[in-house]
């Protein structure tokens, strides 16, 4: 592979692109429109109930099950209808990090000896994790935990004659940011751009260049197919960086989105376009006509466009669809970007990256193999 050939072809792509007003519009303004539109629609949306992740340390003395008082306390929280209690097995020390990495804004730790202290009127402290930035959820959780604790305190007062509150709680902030819809939307829509721009363009180019004889013309030069495809990959990598910058800028300035700008994002902005440029070329190469190429492109693109965590989080989808999402390549790109931009979960991001990198290499090699300059 000669870099001079790749560079020469890259200049042709760039000139073609910059002289096409529609392409320029889609690169520069479409990301702003997308972020703006979805940001405006969903930035005010909140969920009806708050999920409260609970670490219950108050086991029965025999180690089987939880104490009656702790279970009753959690039942009471559930009955408030604004809280959904979800028990998790995490050590209290790691709980804050766990909440951050699992995209949870509220948590509660019931300490060991909770029932014993309560029954003996010994003050006992719960730990509540909330995030002030998720103001509505924080208010709901603190209000509900405080209300249920008061109810239990009153009951204790009646029983023991002491009016001193027994159950108190300490409110702590969770170990990472609270995420709003816009925060997820940015990695989601960067993923959307990584998918749609190269896929639609390459499927179209693969079939139209063949039909128009451009590939036949290039076949008469020393340019190789891998050099040609590499220059396309490089172009879309560059475009992806531009789009991502615009989307992040728009999200942060217009909607005060929280994203961690880290070098960990860079591999996804490179490997993502690498994958979809190759896949688009592959789809366009196996199709016999431009019409069938467009059809194949759409069949591949549309499920991914909506089910990979672009507009809606995969975790909010029904279980069957969640499993389906796991076979979609874009899921790994968006999930990886979520991990590096929001949750700073590097090991999971690395896993996502490996999946998509291996996929990219396979698809690139297949595309090179199946794409011919001219029909035999």
């Amino acid at each position: 592979m000669k870099l001079s050939h790749v560079g020469a072809d890259f200049r042709i792509v760039a000139r073609t692109y910059f002289r096409n007003p529609v392409a320029l519009f889609f690169t520069l303004f479409f990301p702003i429109i997308l972020i703006g539109m979805f940001g405006l629609i969903f930035s005010t949306v909140g969920s009806g109930t708050v999920t409260l992740e609970v670490v219950n340390e108050d086991h029965n003395p025999n180690g089987v099950g939880y104490t009656n008082v702790s279970v009753a306390f959690l039942d009471a929280l559930n009955k408030t209808s604004v809280i959904t209690v979800q028990l998790v097995s995490v050590s209290p020390q790691n709980f804050s990090t766990y909440l951050g990495q699992n995209d949870q804004t509220a948590g509660l730790v019931i300490p060991s000896g909770f029932q014993n202290d309560y029954l003996h009127h010994t003050p006992v402290n719960l730990t509540v994790y909330t995030n002030p930035e998720a103001a509505a959820a924080e208010g709901t959780v603190l209000g509900a935990v405080g209300g249920v604790a008061n109810g239990f305190n009153l009951k204790a007062a009646c029983n023991g004659g002491s009016c001193a509150p027994v159950i108190g709680f300490t409110s702590l902030n969770v170990g990472s940011q609270v995420y709003k819809y816009i925060d997820y939307l940015i990695p989601g829509l960067i993923g959307f751009a990584i998918l749609t721009s190269p896929m639609f363009s390459m499927v179209d180019i693969a079939s139209s260049y063949r039909k128009d004889g451009i590939f036949r013309e290039l076949s008469l030069t020393p340019l190789t197919r891998s050099e040609w495809l590499t220059s396309r990959v490089l172009w879309y990598v560059m475009m992806t960086f531009v789009t991502a910058a615009i989307m992040i800028g728009t999200g942060v300035f217009l909607f005060n989105a929280h994203v961690t700008l880290t070098l960990g994002l860079v591999p996804f902005l490179i490997v993502g376009p690498f994958f979809f440029v190759s896949l688009g070329m592959l789809a366009g190469s196996v199709a016999k006509t431009p019409e069938s190429a467009a059809l194949i492109g759409n069949v591949i693109t549309f499920p991914m466009m909506f089910l990979s965590g672009t507009f809606f989080q995969v975790s909010s989808m029904p279980p069957g669809l969640q499993e389906f999402a796991h076979i979609l390549p874009l899921y790994y790109i968006i999930d990886g970007m979520n991990q590096v931009m929001l949750f700073t979960n590097i090991s999971r991001a690395a896993f996502d990256l490996v999946v998509i990198l291996v996929g990219s290499i396979i698809v690139f090699l297949l595309a090179i193999r199946l794409f011919k300059w001219r029909d035999e």
Binding site: A8, R15, T16, I214, E217, L220, T221
Partner: protein, 249 residues
């Protein structure tokens, strides 16, 4: 070709030949100058885009985008690109198809210039006039087979009909010429046509016409063109094919 195997040494061969495919197309937003710079990098040559475009008479469109060029200008760009690598052999596949007469003549000039530079030019065309004007050697291909080959003159001499002189005159003039010259003079629609067997015949015929005292006007001499030969040869072959089809039980 050029000592190389086209099937296994295609890359090496492409560097030494220039090809303009039939219905040449290029990137729509790219200018001729940029196109040549692109090819120059791919072929690792140092050709000057301005010089090359001047050679194909396209230097006035140096910075015009491909999609604004006329059909003839696009073909000229195709020619320029085919010449970027200074090829020893040029393959031009119907380079003038669909062009107006002016654009076609401009392409002919470029082809003549290529010939003068000592390059071998393979030109495929449906315009026999073009082949007759430009080619040193012509091969007429019908149904994938060469049915005649040689210089245009050789082909015409071998397969064409002899030259004829035609005057406007009466059947009586035709009869006079047949009687006095012994030649096959024929009258049809007020035109008397006499076959010319050699150069001296023309003078003899004109003298005989004058001596006849019969009225006549405007004389012309005609001879078969390559196109006439092509039409006749192909017609004969198709007729033969039809007959052999009909003869089958």
């Amino acid at each position: 070709m050029l000592g190389l195997d086209p099937w296994n040494q295609g890359d090496a061969l492409h560097r030494r030949i220039g090809v303009i495919p039939q219905d040449f197309r290029f990137f729509e937003k790219i200018t001729p100058k940029e196109a040549i710079e692109y090819y120059r990098t791919l072929f690792h040559t140092h050709v000057d885009p301005v010089d090359l475009l001047r050679k194909v008479e396209l230097s006035d469109k140096l910075n015009a985008r491909y999609d604004t060029l006329s059909g003839g200008q696009k073909q000229k760009l195709g020619l320029a690109l085919a010449l970027t690598n200074d090829p020893e052999i040029c393959f031009l596949d119907e380079p003038t198809t669909g062009l107006d007469p002016h654009a076609r003549r401009a392409i002919w000039e470029v082809i003549r210039a290529l010939k003068k530079e000592g390059r071998t030019v393979f030109l495929t065309t449906h315009y026999l006039e073009e082949a007759e004007l430009l080619a040193d050697r012509v091969a007429i291909i019908h149904n994938g087979r060469i049915i005649a080959a040689g210089s245009p003159l050789e082909i015409i001499q071998e397969h064409g009909q002899p030259a004829r002189m035609t005057v406007e005159g009466s059947p009586a003039l035709a009869a006079y010429l047949r009687m006095n010259l012994g030649s096959a003079a024929v009258e049809e629609d007020g035109k008397v046509s006499v076959t010319l067997r050699d150069k001296g015949d023309a003078l003899k015929i004109l003298t005989a016409i004058e001596e006849s005292g019969l009225p006549w006007t405007s004389f012309t001499t005609t001879h078969d063109t390559l196109e006439d030969v092509f039409v006749r040869l192909v017609g004969q072959m198709d007729e033969g094919a039809l007959k052999s089809e009909g003869a089958k039980p």
